[in-house]
């Protein structure tokens, strides 16, 4: 896909070393990320999965450069992250489209802000609109578009800047099941044509296995990496076929055991009674 030359020479590796981040005032500060170290290879599709909680979104903000870690370092292409940049763009969980701009204006925002040539960016914008299938909807405002369409506009808005790293934080979460499936297959197809690094956050294991080259299993808060699984299933992948695939299911079982454990800890939230309760269920199964 044609793009600006602003990111020539960048490969899109991300590295976190001993990153810590806490939120909250003074004494009540809680560690949301603690001693997290992670390496994300360039050009690959890495999926972070773990129970919901602030941890993964915090990592997104640290990598994107909206915040700085309390300790540890975040490196992109070997250089520490000092702030946001158009080489790392984020698509959030909820629509962050500018409500007062049409779809087309939203998409053209990045190039316009950087003062790029109008004709060129218009052409790029038109091509992207075509790519995401929204040419006929380009003059509409975000609130006139369905959830799925809004997500596609956001993807186009990010992609026009040709970032070397795309970060997607549970982007399909609020969508209904059918739209979600369509968007997943859609994004997988879109990504297959480029060599950019994708960092995708989700809580859905099926989604994760469908998309990932590398699966990183995260603990619940305070977040750190629990395990890394390479998903070397052939592409292109199909959701329904994966469901029956033996290898995919083996990976799913492996990941699930660990994630379920983390999910139980998140659920219990430190409560002794809750932990005992879920343990009781485990015992029930074991003795049945």
């Amino acid at each position: 896909m044609p793009g600006s030359t602003a990111h020539a020479g960048q490969t899109g590796t991300i590295e976190l070393r001993g990153v810590c981040k806490a939120y909250g005032p003074g004494r009540f500060a809680r560690d949301v990320v603690r001693d997290c170290s992670l390496r994300i290879a360039a050009h690959r599709f890495t999926v972070l999965i773990g129970p919901s909680g602030a941890g993964k979104s915090t990592l997104v903000r640290l990598i994107a450069g909206f915040e700085k870690p309390d300790r540890g370092v975040v490196l992109v292409d070997g250089r520490p992250v000092t702030g946001p940049g158009s080489d790392r763009l984020v698509v959030f969980q909820e629509s962050a489209l500018f409500p007062w701009m049409t779809a087309e204006q939203n998409i053209l925002y990045g190039p316009a802000v950087r003062g790029e040539k109008r004709d060129r960016s218009r052409a790029l914008g038109a091509a992207l609109l075509e790519r995401v299938g929204l040419t006929n909807f380009r003059r509409l405002y975000p609130n006139q578009l369905s959830g799925g369409m809004q997500r596609r506009v956001e993807l186009a808005r990010a992609l026009i800047n040709d970032p070397s790293i795309m970060i997607l934080d549970e982007p399909f979460r609020g969508l209904d099941a059918m739209t979600r499936r369509l968007m997943l297959e859609y994004y997988a197809e879109l990504s297959s044509h480029s060599s950019r690094t994708n960092l995708f956050i989700t809580t859905d294991l099926d989604e994760a296995i469908f998309l990932a080259d590398t699966l990183v299993l995260m603990s619940h808060v305070p977040t750190r990496v629990r395990s890394v699984i390479e998903v070397d299933l052939p592409r292109p992948r199909h959701l329904t076929a994966l469901f029956r695939d033996e290898k995919a299911n083996a990976i799913k079982m492996q990941a699930f055991a660990l994630l379920h454990d983390e999910a139980m800890r998140a659920f219990a939230g430190g409560s002794r009674a809750a932990t005992d309760f879920v343990a009781a269920y485990r015992r029930r199964i074991a003795t049945a």
Binding site: G50, P51, S52, R173, D176, A177, M178, T179, R180, R181, T203, D204, L205, D206, F243, R244, N249, K252, M253, F256, A257, L259, H260, E262, A263, M264, A266, F267, A268, G269, S271, R272, A273, A274, D276, F277, V278, A280, Y281, R284, I285, A288
Partner: protein, 283 residues
């Protein structure tokens, strides 16, 4: 069939030729069309179907939030609603837990749980609190009685709501997509927690959901409803033995069931999608 450890003698629900019409402006819409379903006492019955098909109407009729326009519903042999009495009385024997449940944020957890019986004057304040304490302990919420809902995790909050429902010793627990807003991982834990509670109480559960995995994992039977107007299209017996481990999700049996149920659901979902319902899908 896999009967629960402590089978409850009450809670057999019988829906006989139920019909429900809705007013939409000038037109009348048929939501439920001669729906018949028998749910034995102590069963976990999962109801799946495309969005807008009328399953919530069915739940509302059982609970007594609105009436039927035809047919009848019976609980343990006596009629809740039917000819002569179109709307059932709302009662503690059938409690609903909604999707966007609400705990009063200004009350502590135990105050929330004890609220119902106190306000309905069925128990004294002291007795209600005692019972609430007991049930909370039974449900793995001991130690959180005097905390506020905002202080515990969202998963635990949903548990408090289930306990609040159970305070009424219902014969039937009516759940309308209670875990819809939760992510897949939290859901899996909530399911195990629900089953653990179920094994301890044996209440009949009428559970509406869109999540196929949830339906198969929890249910004794899964009823696939047709697109609006709804009636049971086909009923699947989930022959996976209880108690169920979440690992069962990747088993061949599970996958086979999921494929079959999914095919039936897709058919109905497409019908209703074509008609213009916003959401017709299922995972």
């Amino acid at each position: 069939m896999n009967a629960p450890a402590s089978a409850s003698p009450v809670g057999a629900l019988a829906i006989v030729e139920a019909v429900k019409l809705y007013d939409q402006g000038e037109a009348k819409i048929l939501a439920v069309d001669r729906c018949s379903l028998d749910i034995p006492a102590g069963e976990i019955c999962m109801i799946v179907g495309p969005s807008g098909c009328g399953k919530t109407s069915l739940l509302n009729a059982i609970a007594g939030f609105h009436g039927l326009d035809g047919g009848s519903i019976h609980l343990d042999g006596h009629m809740l609603c039917g000819p002569g009495r179109p709307q059932a009385n709302i009662g503690p024997d059938r409690i609903v837990v909604f999707q966007n449940g609400a705990l009063f944020p200004w009350k502590t957890n135990i105050e929330n749980v004890a609220f119902g019986p106190i306000v309905q004057k069925r128990l004294t304040r002291k007795a209600a609190r005692e019972k609430a304490r007991l049930l909370m302990a039974e449900a793995g919420l001991a130690g959180h009685e005097d905390e506020y809902p905002g202080e515990i995790s969202s998963g635990l909050r949903r548990r408090v709501e289930i306990v609040r429902a159970l305070m009424n010793d219902p014969a039937v627990l009516l759940l309308d997509e209670p875990y819809r807003a939760l992510d897949a991982l939290t859901k899996s834990v909530m399911h195990e927690a629900l089953l653990e509670t179920y094994y301890r109480t044996g209440t009949t559960i009428f559970f509406i959901t869109h999540d196929l995995e949830e339906a198969i994992f929890l249910g004794h039977r899964v009823v696939v409803m047709t697109a609006r107007p709804c009636r049971p299209k086909c009923i699947f017996d989930i022959d996976i033995p209880h108690p169920r481990d979440y690992g069962v999700l990747t088993s061949a049996r599970f996958r086979r069931l999921a494929a079959e149920i999914s095919a039936q659901l897709e058919e109905e979902a497409l019908k209703s999608f074509a008609r213009g319902e916003k959401e017709g899908g299922v995972q």
